[in-house]
Symmetry: C3
Subunit: 256 residues, 3 copies
């Protein structure tokens, strides 16, 4: 893919943001893109190819947002990032003159369609040239949903999904809580099991095999063990349901 890009635009900066994306997992890929995109310079082009539906009817798309371009399959992976940044225009990449060759492969659209589109975008080709407009309503939606309920004055229960497990075994959830009360003991619920967990600022505050709840570096609620593998202890995998019961600071007034 980088060869294809450099043949069209030899001096473009190419870098990689999702080396840890697991096989086939669109939600984890969407999360990794979402955590990273906002830190890149204006007009960065994000090319994403977790694409289990390659060669089937899913659309190859380009989304122009307020600050960026997103190129990839219409399977939801681009949606959390693009919708947060503000979608301006979407096109389906149907102009075969902008495919790598007349005869493209059925399994590697990353090379044959997406890379070449990203490369042409980087040289200034306008998004309209690539194909017809797609309405936002037609996109495959994917969002990091969760629910929250009040248990008592300073305690809430929140339920969501495991959206990512990193190479340490830390378990990222779709839950967001900005006002955790650090130092208290919370609970984690996974299927019919319940775990006690210490609410901390950072995993370095845990000792031994203590299960920890904290707000991770991307401001999602995460479960980890200091120098240990939480996913293994909790027997949890990406896509599973997860709930946490935590103490909160009532008068917390804060926006990120």
């Amino acid at each position: 893919m980088e060869g294809v890009i450099r043949k069209i635009n030899p001096n473009v900066n190419v870098t990689y943001i999702t080396p840890n994306a697991k096989n086939f997992n669109i939600v984890a890929g969407a999360y990794l893109l979402y955590t990273a995109y906002k830190y890149f310079p204006k007009y960065t082009i994000f090319l994403t190819v977790i694409d289990p539906g390659v060669g089937t009817s899913r659309k190859p798309i380009i989304i122009k947002t307020k600050n960026y371009y997103f190129v990839g399959p219409d399977n939801g992976i681009l949606y959390p990032s693009a919708s947060e940044d503000g979608i301006l225009k979407i096109v389906s990449i149907t102009n075969r003159k902008l495919y790598l060759s007349k005869q493209i492969s059925n399994t590697f659209h990353g090379r044959d369609i997406f890379s070449i589109a990203a490369a042409f975008l980087s040289t200034g080709v306008r998004i309209e040239i690539f194909g017809e407009e797609v309405k936002e309503e037609e996109l495959v939606k994917l969002l990091f949903n969760y629910t929250k309920e009040t248990v008592s004055k300073d305690k809430i229960k929140a339920c969501g999904k495991v959206i990512y497990i990193d190479h340490f075994g830390n378990v990222t959830t779709s839950i967001r809580i900005n006002n955790l009360k650090v130092g208290e003991e919370g609970k984690i619920f996974i299927s019919n099991k319940e775990f006690k967990a210490k609410i901390v600022r950072t995993f370095g505050e845990g000792s031994g095999e203590e299960v920890l709840i904290y707000r991770n570096g991307y401001f999602f609620i995460e479960v980890g063990i200091n120098k240990g593998d939480a996913s293994n202890i909790l027997k949890v995998k990406e896509g599973d349901d997860i709930c946490v019961e935590v103490y909160i600071q009532e008068d917390f007034n804060h926006s990120i």
Copy 2:
């Protein structure tokens, strides 16, 4: 290695094409290089260091081809790519003035010989400066061989080797067939076992644990399972013999 290169030519573009190459496996490395090299800009210098024979008598070489330069050990890894592109000249890197230092390591020629050669090539040093010419006949040859026999009017059996297993567990063979008849049922033969397999355009057309045969993104015949690990189901590893029996379209007239 990239440090050595940037010290000589700070502004050269450096990128990586074979992060998935398995330990010690020259055939898999040769395949990964072969699938990628042709997509890179003219005059790209390919530096390859899957080199189990480092420090022994195998030659360090530079091959100049019609469009590219290839630098690496003479163990076959460069051969499929260089011979396809058209070999113009080969030299053995024997000029010790172009080694990293007087005293080089016995185990890391990637840094001490190959990186520095690639870096000097990128600054315009002519290939003749690096050492004596080597004739093509003297090179270690490596090719992706396979045999094909007609079973019936619209059915063939082809036999080759497993040349690469990717991180999904997809099994790439050395076999090439351009006119697969999609939708039919084929067979796979591995040692004394036989597997039924559906002939498809892309792995996304498979369901459940269905074994699939398709032409992969590099136009080699591959065996996979949609969102599954075919190498595990077939109990096959890189280097193993493999045969497929497939239906073909008779009147297919096609060149890639």
Copy 3:
């Protein structure tokens, strides 16, 4: 992290030297940095984030040395490299105006403190701007120590630690011996077990499951098996004690 860097300095060269660093292992990270830093161009900025103590009291620091800048946590990881190159000045990164935002995360200082510091350094910001000076005596020290004793006229025993196990399973020790007598049989001692091992120039000189002792590409004593996994055979892991008994060349006069 690369997004943060490129937003500040879009045209800086960014590359990665420690993709093989294991989780949490500061010693292995220090070793990988130490093996690589000296090959990079003058004024390269090394940014290192193996940082199990992130969010706790460990200091974020910048070390200016004779030829380079080192940015990372004060947990020892920078020390072997910085002290070898020659430390000129150290500061603690306390100027919050040079943090990513007013509200930083507790778990990702790589992005919120270190990347932004490295990026500003690359644009020419002076080290004094980032915070107060730290004396070298105050740094967390980490060194690759070992002991050596003479067994007989041409035989020595050296003891150190396993500092790194690479993805082949080769076992790197903290021991350095420049005058190994190649071809002789040595010994390896791990806890209460003893292994015979052949002293070789390079792993390619070993056959079968023969355990090998050689000076690795970074001039540390390493134990390996040709095309095999030595760490598995020796049942050894990073941090373990290890001794070798080897023959040496007496009149060896050599400097690297």
